[in-house]
Symmetry: C2
Subunit: 273 residues, 2 copies
């Protein structure tokens, strides 16, 4: 890794800014180019072939036009369905969010039973269950489709959001019990959910560990990309360039909540169709 390497971070929207936030904290000496393919979201309702095409076009933009030496796919759907296609399409190391999340759950769980909450599309792909199974864990996945719109409405500490999460968690724990599982770990399998982490940690049963895939991915990136600790931290103003394929205004308005600092000017790019 060069002293101030460029890491490309890709998401279908701007939720992946939670992954960028975690990366900034772990690898502060890197430059970052973040692309949100906002014109073509949501990926979740599209076919694997279409998602692979969109994701590889986005990855190629980051590598060829922004000089990314490493790529982080901060999108659960693209990580689940297109990681191989992206790795084939670009000549740099590529890391998704799902395997780091599963590996972190493996490290945290004593019982070997974990719960995963995610969007409908991610759950239907069963990518977390497969990644967990590969590490010897049993995973029960649940789609929580209301959590993303609640976060985007800004209701991250709102009684309605607490009530919605309580309902989802109750259903998930009841189902786990019916399947004879003893879950002790909950994986946040969606880039929006870290904004709810404090609320979620208060709501889960005592002793249950909460794993944030964004954090886990940043840790994995720090190991995989071997940054030189000697590299000087980039001044924040120079460290990040953000790009979006549409809805730049919404990105700028909501993105700072995910990044926990202003995202600054978001540049519009056209990747076609």
């Amino acid at each position: 890794m060069s002293v101030n390497p460029t890491i490309g971070v890709f998401d279908s929207g701007f939720g992946g800014l939670t992954v960028l936030r975690a990366l900034l904290s772990r690898i502060p000496q890197a430059r970052y180019a973040f692309l949100g393919d906002t014109a073509r979201l949501p990926y979740g309702s599209k076919s694997r072939r279409t998602i692979a095409r969109y994701a590889t076009e986005s990855a190629q933009f980051l590598v060829r036009e922004q000089g990314a030496e490493y790529l982080v796919i901060a999108c659960n759907t693209a990580s689940a369905l297109a990681l191989d296609a992206i790795q084939d399409a670009v000549p740099v190391p590529v890391l998704g969010v799902i395997e780091p999340g599963a590996a972190s759950a493996r490290g945290a769980s004593q019982s070997g039973d974990v719960l995963v909450i995610a969007t409908d599309a991610t759950v239907q792909s069963h990518a977390y269950a497969a990644a967990c199974r590969a590490t010897g864990l049993r995973a029960l996945e649940k789609a929580c489709p209301l959590l993303v719109p609640l976060v985007e409405e800004g209701w991250t500490q709102h009684p309605v959001t607490e009530e919605v999460f309580r309902i989802y968690l109750h259903e998930l724990l009841r189902e786990a019990s019916a399947e004879g599982m003893s879950p002790d770990t909950l994986v946040l399998g969606c880039t929006h959910y870290p904004l709810l982490r404090a609320m979620i940690e208060k709501a889960v049963p005592a002793g249950m560990r909460v794993i944030d895939s964004a954090e886990a991915t940043a840790e994995a990136a720090a190991r995989l990309f071997h940054p030189q600790a000697s590299g000087e931290h980039m001044p924040l103003g120079q460290a990040i360039r953000c790009f979006a394929t549409d809805s730049v205004e919404k990105f700028e308005r909501l993105g700072s909540r995910f990044l926990e600092r202003p995202v600054g000017h978001v540049e519009l790019v056209d990747l076609g169709g």
Copy 2:
């Protein structure tokens, strides 16, 4: 209008099935071809030019390939941003949902002040405010982005949904009061909202009229298209053909809630792009 005319109904998703349901009740002698452009939703975050292209492609499919003699644009965003483009692109009468909603509000309101709830994209277009103003009404619009996901989660009679609506309504009434308005009518400016109508009617202040744009549009279609009352009702099994550009399974699973009867087999079509 022929005895059993074909009416094409177009939406970016399947929410427009509430308009189809209202049409079936008003014009039961027609055949219907419904197209949900589910591969390219949501339209709300896209540019006017892109929406116009998608919507005209969809309209042309209904007219050229399904023989639609009349078109109903059961999509608020497409009605707001692309009605002219669609009318230019097909040689049949075309009706959107916004003007009928505004006309119905004009008929209902005594005070001349109305409230409109809709998605973020529809509110940002200010299409309802403009249509209301053209009839002499003052309109205050509010985006209620949580209501669509709550409906899609099936929580149409759920305490959480009642609480969310109560919060939105409270904010809207407070804002109306601050602007010196005396609203007596609420327009449901989104195809998902008719599923919440019973709950909404219980929550609004006594005497406030609730206008359903889907109902208003079906009434306008019955007037505009002059159906021959002598036409025999189509047997339901032959009356409807549904098409979608993606996510056929979700359409079949959720669509029946909107149509209030099974949608049957949904045919996948490829409109490109």
